[in-house]
Amino acid sequence: MKDERTRRQFIRDVSLLSSSAVLGASMPWLKAMAGETQAGNGASDRVRLGFVGVGDRGRALLLNCQQLENVEIAAVCDNYEPHYQRAVELTNGKAKAFYDYRKMLDEADKLDAVIIATPLHEHAHITIDFLNSGIHVFCEKSMARTLEDSKAMTLTANRTGKILQIGHQRMFNPAYLKAYERAASGEIGQITQIRAYWHRNNDWRRPVPKGRPELERKINWRMYDEYSAGLMTELASHQIQVANWFLGETPTRVMGSGSICFWKDGREVYDNVACVYDYPKGVKVIYDSVISNRKYGLEEQIMGHLGTIEPEVRKIYSENPPPAPGFLQLINNLEKDIFETIPIGGASWVPETAVQYKGEYLVEDYQYDDTLLEMEGFVLAVRNGRPYPGLLREGYNATVAVLLGLQAMQENRIIEWPEEYAWKKNTELV
């Protein structure tokens, strides 16, 4: 265990969180994880994992899984030589290595689950093949490059009863869980708008080895429309998932505008996107992403009539700031039956010098590795052999939403959520 502190802290927090009625009911993975973590390691059955796609993300996921107890990394697969080699090294040659995932499929009986972190257009067929072979799948977000593929993956998971978990790790992040609980308790009132953005300032490219220009499309798959929906599937996906989750709804329609505005280097995907998502009852999610300025970073500003949550910075703000310190002391004293003078009176208050209300932290300040927690959750589900109810729907709906956003931008029209892709709460996708 590399980061014992994080893990212990997490166990404590998850145990606290899972006792909340709201979270226990709506996020079943929490309850399961709390039960597991409280009972000690509890990992009696060894889980054998395979990895397909050990690039940037795949490598991180692999390192995370190596921290988990009773988990064996039995197989790795990558069709790019340097990454194949790296995967072999990372697993000290103990994992069986493949260039072609279909060869790995042939030995599926030696695996309980696979973790897929290939480029977006390589998600669907690999996922479906493994599910059909009776293997549980964790697949990175977004689900797939097309609506059809996303739906096919979902239907396959539902038909086979195998686990399909999509890599939206914020659902495993204690700050987000706490935020969700407080929003669900009504603390920020009726949410009418969520403003979300992700801003970076770089060309979003990976270096291509000298003298190997034919590798450009493989390495920089994010730049090409055929493989990726650009900022929408790579960044927005996480944040639209958060919006859907907090609102408990999916968008009814989306309008948007995208452009290649700054990085005119032959890429096909937009470097500047803006979308407005309409949700039922007039609620809106306003999204934008650019990669030519990073001042504002990323955030989801969840706004209700009583307060605001900014989960990326772990903060909650009330529309009515808390009482003055003296007044709080007065209340505390009353509750404890203390009779003593309260230092409360003071000079006239002027707005410019009024206390800058900086909100309140949702959870303590330490770095949760939500990816580690997400992997922990997945392995636990595999061990139990059952998917967490509701989790796949989140991944699916986030994916459909971002793909529709791209469509709205590309076709320059308002796109309604198609009936055949609707997967509402308590219903089946058909």
């Binding site: 700031p321 009482p323 003055a324 003296g326 007044f327 007065l330 209340i331 009353l334 039956d337 203390i338 009779f339 003593e340 003078t341 309260i342 230092p343 409360i344 009176g345 003071g346 000079a347 006239s348 208050w349 002027v350 707005p351 010098t353 009024a354 206390v355 800058q356």
Partner: protein, 305 residues
């Protein structure tokens, strides 16, 4: 006013508290709008846009009463409490720069309530010269607190503390484990220290000061009351707290005391009902001088009841 409003109401159900909270908030907001000079197209703002010499009809009964009451306060404070100093005080808004002498003098000539004429039958006022600078600041706050008090009493509330951004506190009844609400005023020059302790029982407590402690822990100079004769704020550090039954009297008295000279104190106090007035002056090196006036709630000698 732009102040923060904290309320503590005891002995009522949560539903009643909630209802009171909304009613009080609503009333305070209404009064704030009525008396605000910043609200474009608000009545006070409109008055301040008028040219001198023209009669201005005051339609709102409440506003008209305010003009009348402030005229009385002007008289009972030796001409110190003055609601037509807005044009001069605007010159002192900058924290660092001191305005030019002649600029102040010029504005001062056409400022002050001496420029105002009332037509009581027609419910009109006019300004003899200059641009109107009506500012109901202290009056509005005291009036709002008086209204809050009325609401609480009308709903049979007997124990409550209402805090208007610390500068004005209204209490009803007493602390559950004592005979009064013990409240003290902080020292704006020395964080953590207190200037004076007050025993509040159905009182309001208001503090005016030209030094205030910002949340960064530094005290700041702050000129919000301008002397209607000199056109200047008081330069020495001063803090005045008034404990009284009437929040309106308290606000006016604490504002006036910021500008009154010690020789005038007794004469002015004689015109008011108050329980305790504490005047603190800060000299260099953060040493303080405190003057306390106690009235024990006697009837004003010159008033026959």
């Amino acid at each position: 006013m732009g102040t923060r409003l904290d309320m503590l109401i005891l002995g009522q159900s949560p539903q009643v508290c909630e209802m009171l909270f909304h009613e009080i908030n609503h009333e305070v907001e209404r009064i704030e709008i009525l008396f605000s000079r910043f609200r474009e197209n608000g009545q006070v703002w409109e008055i301040n846009q008028q040219r001198h010499a023209r009669w201005i009809k005051i339609d709102s009964e409440e506003l008209w009463q305010a003009f009348l009451t402030c005229r009385e306060y002007h008289a009972t404070t030796q001409g110190i409490f003055d609601i037509n100093m807005g044009e001069v005080s605007a010159l002192w808004k900058g924290e660092k720069e001191t305005p030019l002498e002649n600029e102040v003098a010029e504005r001062l000539r056409s400022s002050g309530m001496k420029q105002m004429e009332y037509d009581e039958i027609g419910q009109r006022i006019r300004f003899l010269s200059g641009k109107p600078g009506i500012d109901f600041g202290a009056y509005g706050k005291g009036y709002a607190l008086a209204k809050v008090r009325e609401i609480l009493i009308a709903h049979q509330v007997t124990q409550a503390v209402i805090n208007f951004g610390d500068s004005s506190i209204l209490t009803l009844g007493k602390h559950p484990s004592g005979e009064y609400w013990p409240m003290s005023v902080r020292n704006p020059m020395k964080p953590g220290d207190i200037l004076h302790e007050f025993n509040m029982k159905n009182h309001s407590l208001t503090t005016s000061s030209n030094r205030l402690l910002a949340d960064d822990g530094w005290s700041r100079k702050f000129h919000h009351v301008i002397h209607p004769v000199t056109g200047k704020p008081v330069s020495e550090g001063k803090s005045v707290s008034v404990l009284s039954k009437s929040p309106l009297d308290g606000e006016v008295l604490s504002t006036a005391f910021m500008l009154l000279s010690p020789e005038q104190y007794a004469v002015v106090l004689n015109e008011f009902e108050y329980d305790e007035v504490v005047v603190v002056t800060f000299s260099s090196g953060a040493s303080i001088q405190k003057k306390q006036f106690l009235c024990n709630n006697q009837t004003k000698p010159n008033q026959s009841l």
